[in-house]
Symmetry: C2
Subunit: 253 residues, 2 copies
Amino acid sequence: MVKVVLLGAGNLAYHLTHHMLNSTTIQLIQVYNRSIEKIEYLKNDVSITNNLNQLKEADIYIICVSDAVISELSSHLNFPTKLVVHTSGATSVNDLKSNSEKGVLYFPQSFSKDKKIDFNTLPVCIESTSKNGFSLLKNFSKEFSKNTYLINSDQRKTIHLAAVFVNNFVNHLFYNAEQICNKQAIPFEILQPLIMETVTKLEKISVYDAQTGPAKRNDTNTINNHKALLTNTQLEIYTLLTKSIQETYGKKL
Amino acid sequence: MVKVVLLGAGNLAYHLTHHMLNSTTIQLIQVYNRSIEKIEYLKNDVSITNNLNQLKEADIYIICVSDAVISELSSHLNFPTKLVVHTSGATSVNDLKSNSEKGVLYFPQSFSKDKKIDFNTLPVCIESTSKNGFSLLKNFSKEFSKNTYLINSDQRKTIHLAAVFVNNFVNHLFYNAEQICNKQAIPFEILQPLIMETVTKLEKISVYDAQTGPAKRNDTNTINNHKALLTNTQLEIYTLLTKSIQETYGKKL
């Protein structure tokens, strides 16, 4: 059974901890966090510590902390024959400063503590700097998901960037739509079926073919009517995305 | 049983036609289209015509054509005691030029011919210029959906605008994410679970609270790394949406 020490207590750390505590093939033997209070609720299930000098010996050390502190934290890990991985989309594997085998275990997903995650259905991206580490990580990742992707650091940064578009930016468009609705006392829920359709449509057709709307069909009249209802940043967003859609489809007509 | 004549042959007309042909409470008695070829496949199920002078007498005439031709087409409809409705999000009810009761039946949804629609789960927005028309339309809309909203022309234009944000613009962000992935030979499907999470999350928390990412947490390092990977319009989109997220959350911190 693979022995694991997990470092961190954020949203991803929370879900990984509980997934591993329920696993029959992974043995989570310790959870580390700088402030012990955040992991004290785990003390009946697993050894906890806030002291890097008291880390137990494991096969894999999973670093689940903010990007900015990965290098510093990893520099304290001295386990030459063991594997240390981080879980960050935006951080190179070479930012790990541990004396160890090194790797990355990245889930391109957004984690909230109050929303259950089924790791089985999630893609997982793995990378390692050594054959040995890679082989260990590959077997380990299979315990999480059937969808393992071999992804290097450049590719992972690209996935992280694309994730900003489909998650952060999309959510911000939802927010703007809600603000627009609020002004006319329209409940945002009225758009829920359309939002779901926007996503499920992609199971059937490509994103390129799925595009519709006034920008694509160059409906200047509707575009101008829309613009007259917007001010400031919303108008900037409308204008830029309309231009971008027109550039995308104009050149291929 | 309500008698209906439908005018048009686009995607929405297609779905409305088939929904009404299967209804036990609505009697679709005729379909009109300027070019008869597009509706000829219906001739065994319903009367078809391309001649406005041969429209049958019905309770409701549903105009399902491009926004630009609604006024002209409706001006040919002379049914003083009957109800004529259009189905456009961006068009005022007063753009109907028929000699009749007037109204609007608007579904804030994106329709594709090859994707089945369950009208029961769709919201429907109704408006009428007369009490009589409104009462008829209200009963009629119940045959389509349990979620009927009374929406005036200004509100409907606002819904249409918000729909551009959550559907057209969101799809364009998906397209950009796919283009970004393609450059590094990353399959777009890897982002599918994240896209689904972005949407289903809203069942639990507000769009305002659902926002995450480098823009919200002012992670300048990641933002600059991302920008270095983008060119032209994608960089403009990234910069503007990042600025907009920072404005949204900065002022409330």
